[in-house]
């Protein structure tokens, strides 16, 4: 029975000690500890949120980069195409010009050749004429002297003509 009869003195002292402990620990321990833990939790949460934001920012930047890259690729393709077109155009033009030039040169060469030929033919004709006159003159002169000897002479003359 003694065991389950609370003593007044112990109740008093337990009350006093616990009340002091409650006051002192609340003020000097639990409050700062709880505040610090809450603050730390807050800072961890903030850090996590910031990391999330940074990740999203990164994602956005990444997609921007992709877009810029794609645009650049299109631009490049366009430029290459244009360059190719310009090249084709230049080459075609050059070819045409060259062809025209060649034609012109050919034509003038032909004319030149034609003119030269005509001139040569003229000269040949003149020389043949002269020779003919010369041959005729010489034949005429020999005929006046002897028969077979004339033939010999003419033959020789013809030989000369051939050489010419």
């Amino acid at each position: 029975m003694d065991l389950v009869t609370p003593g007044i003195g112990l109740i008093f002292w337990t009350g006093v000690i616990f009340a002091i402990l409650l006051f002192a620990l609340s003020k000097f321990a639990w409050k700062p500890i709880n505040n610090m833990i809450s603050k730390r939790n807050q800072s961890i949460e903030d850090a996590l949120n910031q990391a999330e934001l940074a990740r999203e920012e990164m994602k956005r930047l990444h997609s921007d980069n992709e877009k810029i890259l794609a645009e650049a690729r299109i631009e490049r393709d366009k430029m290459i195409q244009e360059a190719r077109a310009i090249k084709d155009q230049i080459v075609g033009q050059a070819k045409e010009e060259a062809k025209a030039e060649v034609d012109k040169i050919k034509k003038s060469a032909k004319q030149e050749i034609e003119a030269q030929r005509a001139a040569a033919l003229e000269e040949i004709r003149n020389q043949v004429l002269e020779l003919s006159v010369l041959v005729a003159e010489k034949v005429i002169r020999k005929e006046l002297k002897s028969g077979p000897e004339h033939e010999q002479l003419i033959d020789n003359l013809l030989k000369d003509v051939k050489l010419n």
Binding site: L3, V4, G9, T14, K39
Partner: protein, 362 residues
């Protein structure tokens, strides 16, 4: 392999020490031919005392010497306040006279001595009952002193933890790292589920109750000074703690709580008074249940350990000591678990009751 070796050494040393104690006590028995009374020993250990008993031995000249720390005695009787050290009683062999009052120490309780300076008994239902008057006793007893040690320990530990939080809030180290999981356990697992938004208001009270009970429980398991006081196994202590919870519940109870207690809505009018009586009884039963649960669990643990140790002295046999030591070892491990468990349950139920009283209803 090392662990097994260590364990063996530990067991052997425990065994040896207990057998030495057994042998010594046997010697004492032979000399004084005193019968070993288990009941008296256990009751002596689990009850409060006016001095902190450390050990008894018989010196060379055959005198029985008792080593203990004397504690202050504070008594009020007939408007007279008497303060003296308990060593003046010389373990109950002497009476102490202060002014008109003569005090006598009998079974660790202080009575006023009769005219002959003795204790008077009366037989009631076949039991010896002391009929002497008792003074108002506000002494610093063993339990009070033990609580003071716990209070100082708690202040030292948690103020230093608070300081290290100020210095280094991010990465807990040392004592701070050891205590933080316990603090967070109380906060997140016990208090928050029951109190929600009101956690911060009641957290200091519940943390104090948790660590006060835990430290007292743990100190009670240590078999020698500064431990071994059965503080949380004393009904006066648990009653006081439960009273704090009672006030925490009823001083903070909201309109809804009082309405449900005194005039239950949603039931026929003639049932309301009956329910009010039941609810008012419940108001008292809650702290009483807390009181008895903690008291009974801790006292039971102490009784079991003491009984197991006493087996050696009952059988007066060396053979018994290893059995006894193994059982006590097991019980001590169990008691460490119980120390945490009972602190947890007391705090858990306190926060549950407070939570029920302050809960918002929409």
């Amino acid at each position: 392999m090392n662990k097994i070796y260590l364990l063996t050494v530990l067991c052997l040393s425990l065994l040896f020490s207990s057998t030495v104690i057994a042998a010594e006590s046997e010697q004492a028995h032979e000399q004084e031919e005193e019968k070993f009374n288990v009941n008296e020993l256990i009751m002596h250990h689990i009850k409060d005392a006016h001095d902190w008993h450390i050990l008894d031995y018989t010196n060379k000249s055959g005198e029985k010497v008792s080593v203990s720390i004397p504690l202050p005695v504070i008594l009020i009787h007939n408007g007279q306040l008497d303060v003296f050290l308990s060593s003046e009683f010389e373990h109950g062999h002497k009476t102490v006279t202060k002014g008109n009052n003569t005090y006598i120490l009998y079974h660790n309780k202080i009575y006023l001595a009769d005219e002959k300076g003795e204790i008077k008994y009366e037989d009631k239902d076949g039991e010896h009952v002391v009929v002497n008057e008792k003074p108002l006793n506000f002494s610093i007893t063993k339990n009070v002193f033990s609580m003071m040690i716990v209070a100082v320990l708690l202040l030292l530990v948690f103020i230093s933890v608070a300081k290290s939080y100020k210095r280094n809030p991010g990465r807990p180290k040392g004592l701070q790292a050891f205590m933080e999981p316990l603090i967070l356990f109380v906060k997140d697992e016990i208090v928050y589920p029951n109190l929600g938004k009101k956690t911060d208001k009641f957290l200091p009270f519940l943390l104090t109750i948790f660590f006060f009970i835990l430290f007292n429980n743990l100190l009670g398991i240590i078999p020698i000074f500064p431990g071994n006081a059965n503080v949380t196994g004393n009904i006066a202590v648990t009653l006081t703690l439960a009273t704090f919870t009672f006030f925490a519940i009823n001083l903070n109870g909201n309109k809804h709580y009082w309405k449900h207690t005194l005039w239950m809505p949603g039931v026929p009018v003639f049932v309301k008074p009956i329910l009010a009586i039941v609810e008012l009884m419940g108001m008292i039963v809650k702290p009483v249940a807390l009181t008895i649960r903690l008291f009974a669990n801790i006292t039971a643990g102490h009784i079991i350990i003491l009984s197991l140790v006493s087996l050696i002295f009952i059988y007066e046999s060396l053979v018994m000591s290893p059995v006894s030591v193994l059982f006590v070892l097991f019980m001590n491990c169990l008691e460490i678990l119980v120390a945490f468990l009972q602190a947890y349950i007391f705090t858990m139920l306190s926060s549950l009751f407070i939570g029920m009283a302050v809960e918002d209803h929409h």
